[in-house]
Each structure stands twice: as C-alpha cells, then as structure tokens.
C-alpha cells in the first residue's frame, strides 16, 4: 500500500532557504493569490453553529494566527480544512482544487499537514522511522526487501538540519527526546513530505519557555521555506511574535482580521469577546 516512489522523494535538504535571498517588493498578504481559500463555510453540531459563513484566505509563506476563546470554532475550522469534518455548506479550495469532502489522508497527500498537540510520534521508534512512518523506504539485500533504516535516518538528519536542528544520535527512540525536539520532528516530517500548508494546534502549549522559543524559531524557518502556516494559540504574546496576520473567531463567526502591525492586544481581546465585530 505504501510503495516509495524515488522520484517523489525530495532531496535531503530541499533548499528553499536558498531562495530566501530573492528580494521581491510585493507583499504576500495583499497581492498574491491565496494557496488556501475558504468561502462561506458553515458547520452546525446539533443546535450549535460552530462555523458561520467563514471566509478565509491563506498565502504562501504567511503565518496566520487563528485566535478566539474556547468554543469560538477554531478547532472546527481547522478540522474542516484537514478533512476531518465536512462543512455543511461553503467551499474550501487548495490551489485550484476543491478539497472539502475529501478524506484526511487525501488532504494530507495534497500537502496540508496538521500537527496536533500530541504530535502523533511513536515514542519507541527512532527519528528516521517516525518521519517515514507509513511511507517507509525499502532496499533489497540479496533480493530480499528490507527497511532502509540508514537511508531514512540520513534523510531525517537532512530534514532536521534544514530546519537548523542537530541531533547527535538519530537512532535513539524519540521518547528520549525533549518536547521541543519532538515538536521539531513532527514539523520536519511535514517539511520533508513537502507540505504547502502546516496547521499547528497550540504548538507551544505543553512546552517550557526555552522550548517555546525554539518552536517559534521553527515556525519562522518553515515560513522562510514558503510554507503557509496556520497557528492556533491562546497566547497573544506568541501570536504577536510570530504571525503576520491574525484571524479572530467569536462564537463561530469571524470577528475580524488584521495585519499584525495594525492591531493591538487590546483590540484582539475585544474582538475575541465579541465587542468589536467587523461588518
């Protein structure tokens, strides 16, 4: 079920960072076309309107913070994007392709990776196998197919190094690694498989302060690769630090959308509480 196609496997360090040198005057958040666009999406759970007519655009290389109080509909929205839930009405497009109604696996294969809080790493397996889980690379020894653990480890090292992370020993089970390192592995898996959009659900919530900082650095690295990031957080400090734009939800509807430079924490809080609602 999981043949590994050598031509689709990216190089160890894909190298979009090299492109970071290119200067371009236009602002991705305004001019360019959206990678992901959500149009008029509604979702109802029983009597609760979890999403009410949401419009959202996401551009390559942009960090969009999704903010809102508990129950504002953040999770519902990302689950619809990730294919876990299907919208009742409205459309979601990735590039030119309509993706609402597809399975989570299909959405992942199209390049939208969701990194949940539990990270979904197998603690007893090493970094290489974790990054390739479900799409392992095989080699033949005397005609017998065998897992190519060494190759996967090397590729993993490349992907991690690309994100600026060095692990001394990649053969260690990831359970022995710190929370920040594990987050980095989950992120590098997304990068390795060429995710165009990475959705991060509270990536800093379970971490200590130094590790939160490391994860925020990773977000910037990812962004530099042209990956679009949806960043869910309760922490306004984090949001203002890493995101380009903030999208505030309030009881299922869109309360407002601001470039991060054009707003203040006070205004965002007011939006989250429903005191400021854009027309």
């Amino acid at each position: 079920m999981n043949a590994s196609p050598p031509d689709a496997v990216p190089d160890a360090a894909p190298g979009p960072l090299e492109r970071a040198g290119i200067e371009s005057p236009d602002d991705a958040t305004s001019g360019s076309t959206a990678v992901l666009s959500v149009r008029g999406v509604c979702k109802r759970f029983g009597g609760t309107r979890a999403s009410r007519d949401i419009d959202l655009d996401l551009h390559a290389g942009e960090v969009l913070a999704l903010a809102g109080d508990n129950g504002a509909g953040k999770s519902t929205l990302i689950k619809m994007i990730a294919g876990v839930n299907r919208p009742d009405s409205g459309e979601i497009h990735l590039g030119g392709e309509r993706i609402d109604g597809r399975s989570p696996q299909e959405v992942r294969d199209l390049g939208i990776e969701t990194i949940y809080q539990d990270l979904a790493l197998a603690d007893n397996l090493d970094v290489g196998v974790n990054i390739f889980l479900g799409r392992e690379r095989m080699r033949r020894v005397l005609g017998v197919p065998m897992l190519d653990r060494k190759w996967m480890r090397e590729q993993a090292a490349g992907a991690l190094e690309h994100l600026g992370i060095r692990l001394d020993d990649l053969s260690m089970p990831v359970g022995y690694l710190s929370g920040g390192q594990r987050q980095a592995i989950a992120i590098s898996r997304a990068v390795y498989w060429k995710a165009r959009i990475v959705i991060m659900d509270e990536p800093t919530a379970a971490l200590g302060v130094p590790e939160q900082r490391e994860v925020k650095d990773l977000v910037r690295r990812l962004q530099a690769d042209g990956v679009a990031i949806v960043f869910i957080s309760h922490n306004l400090g984090d949001i203002f630090e890493v995101s380009d734009r903030i999208f505030v939800l309030e009881r299922g509807r869109k309360a407002g959308e601001r470039a991060i430079g054009d707003t203040t924490e006070d205004e965002v809080v007011a939006m989250m509480m429903g005191k400021v609602i854009d027309p």
Binding site: P5, A20, D109, N124, R166, G179, R196, G226
Partner: protein
C-alpha cells in the same frame, strides 16, 4: 498518494513569491541562554536532552544486556551446582545441551508469535490450547490415514493442524480488530473454546500415532548432534526476526504498541495488522503443537497448556514490555533459553517438577519488576526535558 512533481514546481513558484515577507526570519534566532554545545553551529539548538546521552546510552545497554546477564548467571549456577554435587559438567554434556535446546524450542515456537502480539500491546492467552488443538488434530489425521505412506500422512497432518489452528486465530483477530474486544478478554474466551475443541477432537484422551516420518522429524539429529526440531525452529525464528526487524509490518507492529494514534495518522491499516498478529500467533502455536506430536508420537489436548506460562515468561524476560512497544526476537530466544535451562536444570538437580512452575512464575514477576523500574529510569533519563 504522492503529489506529482508538477505540484512541486507549483509550490516552488508560490514559495519564491512569498519569500519577500519572510526575509526577517533570517538572522534573528538568538537564544536567551548560551548554546549548550560548541559543536552545534546552527542557529537553533534544541533543548539539550542530548546531554543525557551517556546516561540514556548506559540505560539502553543495561536494558539490552540484562537478559544476557541473567542467562549467564543461571548457566553458571547450574554448572557450579553440577560440579559441586556430581563432580561433573552440566553444559559440557551433549545430551543435556540437546535436552535444553529441545525444551527451549517448544517454548520459543509459542513465544515467537506472542512476541509480536505483546509488542503491539496485546496478549494472546489462547495459544496454549491452540497448540493442543493442533497437536491432537495432527495425530487424529495421521491415525485416520494408516494406509498412506508415512511422509504423506505426516504432511496432511501438519497441514490440517495449521489450518485448524488458524480458525481460533481468525476469531481472535475478528473479536479484537473488528469488535475492539480487549485482547486479554477475547483470547481468554478463546482459551476456553479451543480447550473444549481440543478435547473433543481428541475424544478426551491422548491420541498416539505410529508414523516414521513424524518420529524422525521430532527425534532425529543432524550429524547425530543437532536435533531436527531445533534446526527447523532456527529457520522459523530467522524468518520471524526478519519480519519484525526488517519489514514494514514489523515497524507498524512497533508503532501500534508505541502510540496507536501515530500508526493511524500515518495511514496504517491497524485493523488488518491486528488480524495478522493473531493469525501469526496461532500459526506459531500450531508449530509448537506439531513439534509436540512429532516428538512424542502422540497428540495431547493439553500439550501446550504448561508452555503458555513459559512462553509469556520468555517474551517478558526477553525485554518486551507489558505496555507494548518493545521486545525483540533475539530477546525472546534468550528468554526461552533461560526458561528451558531453569526447567531442565531443576529436574537435573533433583527438585520435584512442581518447583518449575513456582520458579517460572517468580521469574515472570521479576521480569515485570525490572521492566517497570526500566520505565521509571528511562523517564528519569529523559527527565530534564
């Protein structure tokens, strides 16, 4: 399931378009604390759990080595006893070594499939009577075909034994994979069912056979040295090692035991794997039953009953954890040897046979205690993070 290369270029274009906004991310990742190691030139050096390395390494080494140490200890014990009481060697005696290996083979055959199940965080309690069912089925089939050449009736007996053993294996898989019955309960139920089936097939008695092929399969020695069952077991064991350590199936088994969600999100068909696990376990139990019938020229419904405890002990001594995710075939081989030496050794030094049960039971408890303290130590090792 991969995106085509055209999507890659598409993304490349999008990326180039986007870099403008991201130039700020280049040089500003200075950390508040000093970098933990001078050998890491990169901007981000993650929290230094890697500083724990020597400790973690040592721990892993001990984890891997303790069953070896235990094996050596127990060998030394019996060797010493033999010299001091009988004034002669224990392991220097070919007969003793052969007997130990034959006992270990019985245990190992059942423990092989069980290792997979336990790594995937399950348990299979029905294998004892699956082995018994296979043993009596083989004997009954061979008995029913006295006019056939012995090699043919022997082959038919083996085939029937394996096929019938796969039935409870399939039911186990169906209950646990399809209906999400906890494996402990599902296989405990099948323990009863197969027990009854085995006695029904056997007609309540031991079924003896007279078949030359079976007898030589169970008792012949290659070059007068290596017992044939040991040889066959070695080949089967190598295959199972390959399956666990070098195939996707093996990785998925480990992933399911380590974090079921990780396997599910990676698109692994966990239902199918669970099915395969219990079929595999039933298959190796059938092998144990076949070895029994061949060795003793008789099938008994309770042939595998005492071996279940031994097989479980072998897997845990071999480094598997009750919570799943760890264990190896090599470990299970060592575990089987340890149990076999204890069993044979106790008889050798003249202890009443019931002491075997007590000793093996205690060994299981010790293995689980060690496993738990290992978990605690491991958490301590990664603790700073």
């Amino acid at each position: 399931m991969w995106r085509s290369s055209s999507t890659r270029t598409e993304r490349g274009a999008a990326a180039a378009e986007a870099v403008a906004t991201t130039s700020r991310s280049g040089g500003e990742s200075s950390l508040a604390r000093p970098p933990p190691s001078p050998t890491t030139p990169l901007a981000i050096t993650l929290h230094p759990a890697t500083a724990m390395n020597p400790r973690v390494r040592l721990l892993q080494l001990l984890t891997a080595a303790w069953s070896w140490l235990f094996l050596i200890l127990i060998m030394a014990l019996f060797e010493g006893w033999s010299w001091s009481v009988y004034g002669r060697t224990f392991f220097g005696n070919l007969y003793n070594v052969q007997a130990v290996l034959l006992t270990a083979t019985q245990i190992l055959m059942m423990a092989l499939g069980l290792t997979f199940v336990i790594i995937a965080a399950g348990i299979d309690l029905s294998i004892g009577f699956i082995a018994g069912l296979a043993a009596v089925t083989m004997a009954v089939v061979i008995r029913a075909l006295p006019e056939l050449p012995p090699a043919l009736s022997f082959s038919l007996g083996i085939t029937a034994a394996i096929l019938i053993a796969l039935v409870p294996g399939f039911v186990n898989g169906w209950l646990i994979a399809r209906w999400k019955v906890p494996s402990f309960i599902g296989t405990l139920g099948m323990f009863g069912v197969t027990r009854g089936m085995a006695f029904l097939v056997a007609g309540g008695a031991t079924v003896s056979i007279r078949n030359d092929t079976a007898r030589s399969f169970g008792n012949a020695r290659l070059f007068d040295v290596v017992p044939v069952p040991v040889l066959v077991a070695a080949v089967v064991t190598l295959f199972f090692h390959y399956l666990l350590a070098h195939t996707r199936f093996g990785v998925y088994v480990y992933a399911m035991g380590g974090n079921l969600q990780s396997a599910v999100r990676a698109g692994v068909n966990t239902t199918r794997i669970t099915f395969a696990l219990f079929m595999l376990s039933a298959f190796t139990a059938a092998m144990a039953g076949i070895f029994y019938t061949a060795r003793f020229s008789a099938g008994a419904a309770d042939a595998g009953e005492p071996i279940l405890l031994n097989a479980v002990a072998a897997v845990f001594i071999g480094g598997a954890s009750l919570s799943g995710g760890s264990g190896t075939i090599a470990g299970t081989v060592i575990g089987s040897l340890i149990i076999a030496i204890i069993q044979f050794g106790l008889v050798f030094i003249g202890m009443p046979p019931f002491w075997q049960f007590i000793t093996v039971g205690l060994v299981i408890i010790v293995a689980v205690l060690i496993d738990q303290s290992r978990d605690r130590l491991a958490r301590l090792g990664a603790g700073g993070a």
